[in-house]
Symmetry: C3
Subunit: 291 residues, 3 copies
């Protein structure tokens, strides 16, 4: 038990800079590049492409700045991080013969990068909740909102990120149809807020460790089984039916949770066009469908 | 005369919380629910539905916060008001057998709720003008803008409220075709600014009373006669013709003001599909037309 | 040499108010009026038309305020400038028999007004860079961004300016296809930032003079030759090919730079429908094409 406390303490003192930050930029820019039409924009206007990639990398900080009336440009004042993100952006989009992108698409590489990115999510949720708490004492809704915005900002501002690339899909947004990263960030923001307001009998360090392990496990499982089904679906189906009279229940049952990845209804053994495209988050999938 | 001074003093000390605030949330959420497609969103995504309803309820505060570079999330720090608004939202959208909505649609209930909501408009215009005055000394344009934004914010940000629900109607906005609540809020902001800068020979308390009585009279009259014609139309027609060479004049004459509600041209005695739909503000009507 | 130093000192002490400011409003409102559909909006809703014109005139200040979390309404607190801009707006849109607009379209008038507007650009870039420097010490990316936003704000927020008029063109924005004023503002922001951080061996006053002369020369040349080709095209073509593998190179060669204004490919001597329409900036042209 003592060793667990020590482990979680050491884990909570992990520095995000530079390796985890780079992994976050890497995964974010990969995700930006896999949007439909992104490569075309990269050829036509490197400027718009760069700005769109920065919105993917720093969207959470920008959104939480706007919500707290802090300067949204302040992310530009951290020159080192911008430089790292820009180098990653350049390599992913413009490396000769697309070597870097092909390398990034190898499944083990992608899994490691994605897992490291998920670690930064914990740090962001916590930073957001703590920052909001220092502004508004005991305003738990503000704490949840800022923690959520910090960790899932890129998704929440996707409509405006698309606008930079000349794409406009008003019929879809992350509130109408939440992707898994956005949902899990919201859940994290709620948990860390409860911990902060002392409604959750767990130490902060332990919660960080448990939440991160949960994030990584689910993410890796989703990438390996090529499933986009969220572990929240059973809960959502029950809540939706009880509180809001939703009829989503049937589809929820049909799609099945990730606990049965090899269920008959899910032909995950069939040949797939590309591991990269399949393992993309639900958001990217939704985007492709609506095209 | 003394009794009038006393009455207006007592009126100006009226507390908006909780009854008038609830009436405002009630009328706002009803208006949100009557938007085309709103019920469909309520089934698909309670989250987007709740956020859209909050934009209806707190849109004025959010918009004026943004304009003054104050945190737009601060409305979330008032837990009690959010709770009240959320309860109203839940009842209007998801009460069993739609009992609450049916009850809200009874004309006398609706008239009382709408009248109480109009009272909150006076308080909002005044709060906005006073708040702007404390930031910018004697900047009357800022005072008008913030007073207007605070009182009519939900309408002014309607494009972005629609975006939350996956709807996008760029061809219509409240500046291109102002609805009556937006116009009357602008008029109120001008009046209270003139009073504040001592260009209007009337005490603040008296202006509050007179403006509120005007708001309620017009609103009730519009609901009873199911007319959406604004009392500003004659003035607008004259100003438009003199200053801007507008050709709106003819339509302005045809539609007639509310001073002749039973004019021949206006078949207000004919059977109507639903009192609720008809008594909706011009904004909702415009939205329906453009579908 | 001493006289040059004296000249640049005197030039740098030039007051923008009132003549250069009025020229800026004049050129901006002319440009607003020449947008497709603008006159129709002017007839339907003077309010939306006025607000759209103000976004053209004060867009840079508004955008840089938002980016630095300062109140975006503060431009309204300068009553005199708003009054000047509004008078210009009224004259350009609603003067009887369109006398003022016809007068503004005379080529020499237009050239003088445009040249004076370019002078204000230098002052805006410098003000933006200096203002950002006072907020963020040595954050050169922030300095470039704010200098750029201040000088080219109207262009950068064009999507939202269009929304005010009920127009929505998500497929085009100033990042995807930069117009010449936006490009030259960016170049200016980079130069003044380099000067400020002492990486450019030139005094501030001299840089102001040189940059302004460059702006005016190019602008007048573009208006006289009715060309929208940018002097940056050769550089862009090389950078694009070397760094980003762009295929723009061929079109860049075909269109030719402004150094050969009378090239065979450019029938600038042919009768043109209207000097005003032709001499419009690339941005307006792009807008027309995409209709």
């Amino acid at each position: 038990m003592e060793s667990l406390a020590e482990l979680s303490l050491q884990f909570s003192q992990l520095s995000m800079f530079p390796f985890f930050d780079v992994a976050h930029y890497w995964a974010s820019v990969m995700s930006a590049r896999e949007q439909p039409g992104a490569l075309d924009v990269a050829k036509r206007s490197p400027m718009a492409c760069w700005f769109s990639a920065m919105l993917y990398c720093f969207g959470g900080g920008i959104l939480s700045s706007i919500l707290l009336a802090e300067p949204p440009v302040s992310f530009l004042s951290n020159g080192t991080n911008i430089l790292l993100a820009s180098v990653v952006w350049y390599l992913v989009y413009y490396s000769s013969a697309d070597l870097f992108y092909s390398f990034s698409c190898i499944l083990p590489v992608r899994i490691i990068v994605s897992a490291m990115k998920e670690v930064t999510r914990t740090w962001k949720v916590l930073a957001g909740v703590t920052h909001a708490d220092s502004h508004y004492k005991d305003a738990w809704l503000v704490m949840i909102t800022i923690g959520w915005a910090r960790a899932a900002g890129g998704g929440l501002i996707s409509n405006f990120e698309q606008l930079v690339r000349g794409v406009w899909k008003p019929e879809s947004n992350e509130l109408l149809k939440m992707s898994f990263p956005v949902k899990v960030s919201l859940a994290g923001a709620v948990l860390f807020t409860l911990q902060k307001t002392q409604h959750l009998p767990i130490s902060r360090n332990n919660l960080m460790l448990v939440y991160t392990l949960f994030l990584i496990t689910i993410k890796v499982q989703m990438m390996l089984t090529r499933s986009s089904a969220s572990p929240f679906q059973p809960i959502e189906a029950v809540v939706g039916r009880l509180l809001f009279g939703c009829q989503q229940a049937e589809t929820g049952v049909k799609e099945k949770g990730p606990s049965t990845p090899d269920a008959k209804g899910k032909p995950s053994k069939q040949p797939e066009p590309s591991s990269a495209e399949k393992s993309e988050s639900a958001k990217s999938k939704g985007a492709k469908k609506s095209e």
